[in-house]
Amino acid sequence: MKGLRQLEAAVERDARWLRQFPDPVPPPGASERLVAALASHRRGSDRAIERIRPVGAIAAALLLGVGLLWQMPAERGRTVRDDPAAALRDWSAAVDDSTSQVDRLVTHAWLPADGDAEDADAALDDAIKSLDATLELGA
């Protein structure tokens, strides 16, 4: 410890020796240019904040939406947050059901070419309602 203090005192003495040399001086006008650069930076920041304010509002709304979806119970009352794997399985099951409904929808939608148009329209309406119901169940 004593050695360290002695070394520190010696180095401090040596460091003072450097003061005999002139220190570099910034070029003329450097401080003024720096002040101007800082002012410009501040103005740029203010403008950037103004520009991103609407984007920020949209992003906040999206985040809120995602948050609500995250909280929304899936089929059988499970949420993604509670059990992501189970929620994924529920969703897959809902998609399987939906696929069969889509098949029905496509079948009826193509029927008018061969059959009665009014019956086909009614069947198409039924198919769409059925599909809607399935999709709502899976949401």
Binding site: L7, A10, V25, P26, P27, H41
Partner: protein
């Protein structure tokens, strides 16, 4: 502290608080108080006048950006010179990536040209020459050694604080400074 532009602690705390509230006068006063020292520090590390003005700007721009998160506990010098040192290192790294010779481009006369603009012509010539010789000698040091010596010269920091700043033991900081100063004296004193 041997710099006449230094401000006392109370005035500095006030300046920092006002600068935090985006008071342009406070920022100008901080530049007035620290600009020359930051410039001197980065110049002595890089040896380039143009790079030094850029680095001075970079340092103060980073300071302004980081000021809202800065908690003043009497260590403004440590914070400011850390920003300046990091700016120098970032620039050197970028220059290395570009495979350019950046550090010590030996623009030796340039920084001291400004010094020659003031005072007695003979004294100006002698002192500018001394500054150039010191810069040439500094260029031969290890960058880490050079940084320690220049931190002690331009900042208010003790060697203990410098060791903390650079995350090295005090003994390491002292031995590096001792070695560096010894080399500088050996290089510069015989011709005096």
């Amino acid at each position: 502290m041997h710099f006449e532009d230094a401000v006392d602690e109370a005035a500095l705390a006030d300046l920092i608080e006002r600068a935090r509230r985006d008071d342009p006068g406070a920022l100008a006063a901080l530049i007035e108080a620290y600009g020359r020292r930051v410039y001197g520090f980065v110049y002595r590390l890089t040896g380039s006048r143009d790079a030094s003005e850029d680095l001075m700007q970079t340092t103060f721009l980073r300071l302004v950006r980081m000021l809202p998160g800065y908690v003043h506990q009497g260590k403004f010098d440590a914070w400011l010179f850390r920003i300046a040192g990091n700016a120098v290192r970032d620039r050197a790294r970028a220059a290395t990536r570009r495979d350019r010779h950046f550090a010590h481009s030996n623009e030796l006369a340039s920084a001291n040209r400004a010094a020659r603009d003031n005072g007695d012509p003979h004294a100006r010539a002698v002192s500018a020459e001394d500054g150039d010789r010191l810069q040439a000698a500094l260029a031969e040091l290890e960058p880490a050694d050079r940084e320690i010596v220049m931190l002690r010269h331009f900042s208010d920091l003790s060697f203990r604080e410098i060791a903390d700043l650079l995350n090295v033991p005090l003994g390491t900081a002292l031995s590096r400074a001792h070695r560096a100063l010894g080399r500088l004296r050996a290089r510069l004193e015989p011709s005096e």
